[in-house]
């Protein structure tokens, strides 16, 4: 299927606070493996936290949430942290619905600076 404006785009930037992974587009059963691969790769680097910027994610479903939980646990097993930083309203809403913004050991939801 050809790329559309909502196709997933992931960029990584190393900053002083950690590996910032910026995601743009839709996170679902089709695209979550792409994010899983990036997070697995990041798990093998340094000791800094992996900070997800989901402010340009226009859709997220349970498949993508499960990817975040599994990636977070893998990072945690390696002594690293997965943090969710900036996020779109859609992401914030789904995190709230599933209560993953409050109750998960897999990742930390940071105060949204937005």
């Amino acid at each position: 299927m050809p790329d559309s404006p909502d196709a997933l785009d992931i960029t990584i930037e190393d900053t002083e606070v950690g590996h910032v992974v910026r995601v743009r587009g839709e996170l679902d059963l089709a695209t979550a493996p792409q994010l899983a691969a990036v997070l697995a790769d990041a798990a093998g680097q340094s000791t800094l936290p992996v900070v997800l910027d989901l402010s340009e994610v226009t859709f997220i479903d349970s498949s993508a949430l499960r990817t975040l939980v599994l990636a977070g646990r893998e990072l945690s097993d390696g002594g690293r942290k997965l943090q969710i930083g900036a996020r779109s309203e859609r992401v914030a809403k789904v995190l709230e619905i599933t209560q993953l913004d409050q109750y998960t050991e897999a990742f930390q939801v940071l105060s949204d600076p937005a």
Binding site: M1, S4, D6, E26, D28, L29, A30, F59, D61, S62, S63, L65, R66, R90, V94, I97, T98, Q99
Partner: protein, 131 residues
């Protein structure tokens, strides 16, 4: 004289038959939100329908043994219903807990059923604000 009942509202319905390819979830979301936008639902409710449709059909695609997923869309004066069914090799089908939590929030109703080697699901979204 017995009270007259209002005529049944027109039902619009159609069906999609999809291979269990997750790339096609975008099509399902587009169709669901497009249909919902033809109703009196507000933008937040249209988004809820989009999310619910994705969770329903993604669950069936994961359960499929490779058989197509038949997705039925229907809307009438009361609400919008999306149903799906597929063949599965899973003998102990259970939807993901995260899917269940999301559907409890975004759908007015949802249910799953199995019958032999078929698994089905249905979500409903009422058109009234009380949802």
């Amino acid at each position: 004289m017995s009270p007259r009942t209002a005529p049944s509202p027109t039902t619009t319905s159609f069906e999609l038959v999809l291979p269990p390819d997750p790339e096609l979830l975008r099509v399902v979301r587009l169709v669901a939100s497009g249909l919902a936008s033809l109703t009196a639902l507000d933008l937040d409710a249209v988004e809820e329908v989009r999310v619910a449709a994705d969770e329903l059909i993604a669950t069936l695609m994961k359960a499929s043994d490779g058989a197509p997923v038949r997705a039925s869309f229907a809307v009438n004066g009361d609400g919008l219903t999306i149903s799906g069914t597929t063949r599965t090799a899973v003998t102990d089908f259970l939807p993901d807990p995260l899917t269940e939590r999301i559907l409890q929030e975004v759908a007015s109703s949802h249910e799953w059923s199995t019958d032999g080697d078929e698994v089905s699901g249905q979500i409903g979204h009422a058109l009234s604000p009380s949802g």
